[in-house]
């Protein structure tokens, strides 16, 4: 059941990333991080978002903000989970 939920969540995440719906993508990855022990898809989603819409010449660090945000979110939620559970 948990695996099916994860696959559905991943498919929704791919759709959100392809369409550039980053607020929806953030909501989905938050659900993913909270429910699964190691939701590594968040990093892939961050890299994919930057590769599609960022990582452009002249954009500087802003072109990598998806990846940076994903790593920070993963660490913060991991720490929060440790505190709460």
């Amino acid at each position: 059941m948990k695996l099916i939920f994860r696959i559905v969540l991943d498919i929704l995440l791919v759709i959100a990333i392809l369409n550039g719906w980053w607020p929806i993508a953030i909501a989905l990855v938050l659900i993913g991080i909270w429910f699964f022990k190691l939701y590594i898809e968040i990093i892939i989603a961050g890299v994919a978002y930057d590769a599609l819409f960022g990582m452009t010449h002249g954009m500087g660090w802003r072109g990598y903000e998806g990846t940076i945000f994903a790593v920070v979110l993963l660490i913060v939620v991991k720490l929060l989970k440790k505190l709460v559970r």
Binding site: G20, K37, A48, L52, F53, G58
Partner: protein
């Protein structure tokens, strides 16, 4: 007495996840430093078929024959009306060409004439891109796969790239010969276009009938602003054009913000096309620099 001999499994998992995340970040940094276009190429190659499909559906590929026939009829009527309009504008363009030739700028006459011609064909450009393309030599027609607000950085993703000889910095025009941006990243079959309206981007323009020189500063979302002296008499609806001799249309003044205490007034303007609805653009092939 109980002695713990091993660490908790939760700690191991947390450590492992931290290592994996750090490893991915290190790999990304290394790949970006060594092969800057590798990751964008991989992901856009995967995304391109989905975007193309979305574009085709949006263009009416799945509409019923009745809807397509009705649209065809409507476009034919529209085209006939525009042809009549075109003839009178062509006469003005010819006059303009002769005047420019008299003033010693025969080279500019053809550019100016084509601008007038293309500016009037905006209505048909989006519906008949092939005929529009024929009227614009030295430019390649491209379909817009992703546009703001879908792309969060005020940029467009178009369906042509190195495969069609697009170069870095090539100018990009919306239907109607409206200059909107330039290419910033060229991939195999796609390119990224940074709009001049991106926050902080600057471009030289001429505003109003008095052709007041100003620097357009991008505000994002297809909007620009410029500072002009109070006595410039710029009004809402005035045209903004490219500062080159080609005189390409750039935008239309949407508001003028004046403070009596300030010697300058702020002019807000936007392109006459809606960047949120752009489906086709033209990319210049003759200009631009390689990197």
């Amino acid at each position: 007495m109980y002695i713990r001999t091993s660490k908790r499994p939760g700690q191991d998992l947390a450590r492992m996840s931290a290592y994996i995340a750090a490893g991915i970040v290190v790999v990304i940094i290394a790949v970006q430093l060594l092969v800057p276009h590798f990751l964008p190429s991989i992901f856009t190659t995967i995304a391109r078929p989905f975007w193309r499909m979305e574009f085709s559906v949006g263009s009416g590929s799945l509409d019923s024959p009745q809807v397509l026939l009705a649209e065809n009829e409507s476009l034919k009527t529209q085209l006939a009306a525009l042809n009549v309009q075109q003839q009178s504008i062509q006469a003005v363009a010819n006059d303009n060409s002769e005047l420019l030739a008299l003033l010693g700028r025969p080279d500019a006459s053809s550019v100016a004439a084509s601008n007038i011609q293309s500016a009037t064909s905006t209505g048909t450009a989006s519906s008949t891109p092939i005929s529009y393309l024929k009227s614009m030599p030295g430019r390649i027609l491209a379909a817009v796969l992703v546009r703001p607000p879908q792309a969060a950085y005020d940029e467009l993703l178009i369906d042509i790239g190195a495969d069609r000889g697009i170069s870095y910095g090539a100018k990009v025009y919306a239907p109607g010969n409206i200059l909107i941006g330039s290419t910033t990243d060229i991939l195999g079959q796609t390119s990224k276009v940074k709009l001049f309206s991106s926050p902080g981007e600057i471009y030289s323009v001429l505003i109003g009938s008095g052709r007041i020189p100003a620097t357009a500063v991008g505000r994002g979302g297809g909007q620009y602003q410029a500072e002009v002296p109070q006595a410039s008499k710029i009004n809402q609806g005035d045209t903004v054009s490219d500062s080159s001799i080609s005189d390409a249309p750039f935008g239309i003044v949407t508001a003028v913000l004046a403070n009596p205490a300030d010697p300058f007034e702020t002019v807000l303007f936007a392109p006459s096309v809606n960047i949120y609805q752009l489906r086709w653009v033209l990319v210049a092939t003759s200009t631009g620099k390689k990197i």
